[in-house]
Amino acid sequence: MHEFSISSEIVRSVLDAAGKNKGKKVLSIQLEIGELTHLNGEQVAFWVHELFKGSVAEGAEVKIKTTKARIHCKACGYRGGMESDQEDSFRHLMPLTCPRCNGIQIRAVKGRECILRRIQVAR
């Protein structure tokens, strides 16, 4: 639902970086969206394309990679994926307990980010 505001932020960052580097055309951008975010890649790509129109980035390819979640348990030291999570419909959610020790002192170390990794420009 907030894909639009995030997309606006992405477009601002892309045009800013292109401008600073005297890029005449942005050819592609690479994004990494964590699977624990509530961002839908398809919608982000749509808005970024729309917002690029009329700028040096118009028509640029938007490549999106989904980042797998990784969790860390403070109690037992587990570091890894969250494969143990119950049902399909809950897969984008943080598990509540550690898959190894069932403790609750877990936190996400990866999967909650939306990173603008790099852009390719022509000068």
Partner: protein, 224 residues
Amino acid sequence: MKIIKTKGPEIFDIELGKDLLAKNKKLAKENRKRFNRSDILAIDIMGSIGSGKTSLIKAIIKRLGMGKKVAVIAGDLTTTIDAERIEAEGALVIQVNTGKECHLDANLIRRAADSMNLDGVKVLFIENVGNLICPGEFPLGAHKRLVVTSVTEGPYTLLKHPYIFREADVIVLNKIDLAKPMRVSIPQLEKDAQKINSQIPFIKTNALSGIGISKIINALGLKT
């Protein structure tokens, strides 16, 4: 010797590695530190449109009876209706109008806190924009996050929006007096809540009559 150079465009990568959600998280941490320094307990109240967020805050404030030691940041798109309703309870209130944005963010909370005189304030309620999707992803720096849902939203709200309930510290089911006419099963909603987040309190309330309000006060660690 004559050298002929090709004149194609020069293509290069610009490495950015910029996390667009990180800025909000950083500001949220700063807000939290600020609340801690001033010994303020901040509570983010989230829930859908018409779930009873304002009524619940009003009822809690009334029960606390702490006057201007309670402050409220009321988030809404354009109106001041909520702020005026809360002000009637004697708390310090500021309205934040997000305009088009579907959630409050940490920067808006920082600006609101800057513009308030929080001296002597012990509890700060932040009423988020009515929405069960976006606010979950934008921490504000509050110590606790409470999500209100009501039986008038029908039987599936919890299952449809597990994300925000998973992020919560307290789940409130409001308008329990209307369960029968709405043909909604409270035990079933409680089961759904258990499935999503079994480790936090699930409190049944009727904000207008005051049922369940003291349970919320206990769950949030507010002293009466």
